[in-house]
């Protein structure tokens, strides 16, 4: 089955260590909420603002999730120190979009998928089916793993330790002019590749419409 999605807007951000200029203080003025945001949460909030998010339903994807919180927890358990409750509440995969929904008071459906290197493709497929309800959707894929022990884990030798891509989409009957051709982007985590490919192609296409195959 093929579903066509119109790309209304899209944005990409990445960094070799930590993304700067995420505008946290403007986007999250309340310090008591801002202080608990994880890196992926800050990236997600920034991306949402860049694509003109206005409380649409959200489909989010992350391959590695909250790597820092996860490792802090297991180290705490291993070293027998008391576990931080903030670390645990921040360790679930839908943490970034939970914070986004709280910040924007969005009571609509928010869902998160995670399929390792196919994560952004899963976001696209999930989004395509959900878009059949004919509302606009926010699709996002973020992976942030700029952590202390990253060399032990970074077997693909990725140079961009933080990256995220977002797009605002809606279903359309119009003909597609963008197709997923499995392009690769050596510095970025493979978990973002499919959405990144579409984002780059959309930048160079008038009225970009991508075909998603299920």
């Amino acid at each position: 089955m093929k579903i066509n999605l119109k790309i209304l807007s899209s944005h990409f951000v990445s960094a070799t260590d930590k993304c700067e200029n995420l505008e946290e203080k403007t986007l999250v003025p309340k310090m008591m909420l801002r202080r608990r945001l994880t890196r992926a949460s800050k990236i997600a909030i920034f991306l949402a603002s860049k694509v003109g998010y206005k409380n649409e339903r959200i489909i989010f994807g992350s391959a590695y999730g909250e790597a820092k919180a996860t490792i802090d927890i297991i180290e705490s358990i291993y070293n027998k120190t008391l576990l931080s409750p903030t670390a645990f509440q921040n360790s679930v995969h839908n943490t970034p979009v939970s914070y986004l929904s709280i910040l924007s008071e969005n009571t609509k459906e928010v869902t998160t998928v995670s399929d390792l290197f196919d994560t952004s493709l899963s976001v696209l497929k999930t989004g395509a089916i959900k878009a059949l309800k004919k509302d606009k959707l926010l699709l996002m894929s973020v992976d942030a793993f700029s952590i202390d022990k990253v060399e032990e884990l970074n077997k693909c030798k990725l140079t961009e330790l933080e990256s995220g891509v977002a797009m605002l989409v809606e279903v359309t009957q119009d003909k597609a002019n963008i197709f997923v051709e499995n392009e690769t982007f050596a510095e970025t985590s493979p978990s973002l590749w499919q959405m990144l490919e579409i984002h780059h192609k959309a930048q160079n296409t008038q009225n970009p419409i991508v075909e998603i195959e299920l």
């Binding site: 391959a63 999730g65 996860t70 358990i77 998160t112 995670s114 390792l116 899963s122």
Partner: protein, 376 residues
């Protein structure tokens, strides 16, 4: 878009209360819980009450075996044209923890295919060759969100068969994590009780095969409607009046095109924590004036985290097929007087049921089931 009815074609589950769905349902009706006290999970050595599957087999072996049993009971010969929708909150975390501890704090040997959320789908794709798979991970609503997507796939006509699997293995992270939040109990959970002391983290596997086919038995269980919402309130605690829960339940009723007054039984999320049960109880009171039967089965199965959506849908479907409302085991004094919480098993025809699941960050889902009887 096709809108042919969606039925449960086959189901199977494993948890601390039993190694298959018949055993678990019997345990439920007999009030036999598999929740036990352990002192080797919390890093300070204190006791906690959790639910472990009572088997020598590994979690992955049990996972593959349950799906095989389900396939043997279905009309399909294989899953080559079936879509797999997985819901899990820990994925391969338990394996990774063991590795980390064995390797004395090194992450060198952590393989992403075995550690990640995708690990469950990876194992099942290798064993059964599904056409495609997507994994949902939204903490305790993971497999409920997988069920919602499965319905959407079938409604769209994208697939004829979807297997929804909920699987969460017990892990040090979740047990210590919920303990850090002060919601883990050292005794069996007492959902909706005024003296409840928290939840029991537990492991479980549940699988449901959905399709447009009826099974030609005396009755079928139809997945009639789904609803999703967000609390937009707090990262850990639900809205105290259950506002988001009420929205999800109402949306499920709207999607099912039925009225609240038609619901006979609600399988609650009912974890046994102060926050969840009060919020959920208030939401149910507000929406269901006719006081349908309400029950939490987590006092028998424990809280199977990401797997609970599928496991509790299976329990509800079996309750409908067997015409029995399971008792609220462990309930002695209910906190909210208006709720109809039976403390004995009741013979009752359940025509319409609602299954709730609520998660961290205020992620809420509700699913409506309908029993369709066939004239022979």
């Amino acid at each position: 878009m096709q809108q042919n009815s969606i039925y449960i074609e086959a189901m199977e589950m494993v948890c601390s209360a039993g190694l298959n769905k018949e055993e678990i349902f019997s345990s439920l009706l007999e009030g036999k819980t598999g929740i036990k006290q352990h002192s080797d999970f919390l890093s300070d050595g204190t006791r906690c009450a959790i639910g472990r599957i009572d088997s020598e087999q590994t979690f992955n072996e049990l996972l593959i075996q349950s799906i095989q049993t389900l396939l043997d009971n279905a009309t399909l010969n294989n899953f080559h044209h079936t879509f797999l929708a997985v819901g899990t909150s820990v994925g391969g975390m338990a394996w990774a923890e063991n590795r980390f501890i064995e390797d004395k704090g090194s992450l060198q040997k952590i393989e992403l295919k075995k550690q990640s959320i995708h690990a469950i789908a990876h194992t099942l794709k290798q064993a059964f060759n599904f056409k495609d798979a997507i994994t949902f991970s939204t903490a305790c609503t993971s497999s409920s969100n997988a069920l919602v997507f499965a319905k959407e796939l079938l409604d769209a006509g994208a697939y004829e068969h979807v297997l929804v699997v909920g699987a969460d293995e017990i892990s040090l992270t979740t047990v210590n994590g919920f303990n850090a939040l002060g919601v883990l109990s050292s005794e069996g959970a007492k959902p909706f009780d005024s003296k409840r002391t928290g939840m029991n983290v537990s492991e479980g596997i549940g699988a449901i095969l959905l399709s447009h086919q009826k099974n030609h038995r005396t009755s079928d269980i139809q997945l009639l409607g789904t609803g999703c919402s967000s609390d937009a309130h707090n990262i850990t605690n639900p809205h105290p009046d259950g506002v988001g829960a009420k929205m999800a339940m109402q949306e499920a009723l709207n999607n099912a095109k039925i009225d609240a007054s038609q619901i006979d039984y609600i399988n609650a999320h009912g974890t046994g924590t102060m926050a969840n049960d009060t919020a959920e109880g208030k939401a149910v009171q507000a929406l269901f004036e006719h006081k349908p039967y309400l029950g939490s089965t987590k006092s028998i199965t424990g809280h199977t985290l990401g797997a609970c959506g599928v496991i509790e849908l299976i329990i509800t479907a079996m309750a409908m097929q067997q015409e029995v409302v399971p008792a609220n085991f462990n309930l002695t004094e209910q906190e909210l007087n208006e709720l109809n919480l039976p403390n004995k098993n009741l013979s009752h025809k359940i025509n319409y049921a609602l299954c709730n699941a609520f998660a961290f960050g205020g992620n809420n889902t509700a699913i409506v089931l309908k029993r369709v009887t066939h004239e022979n």
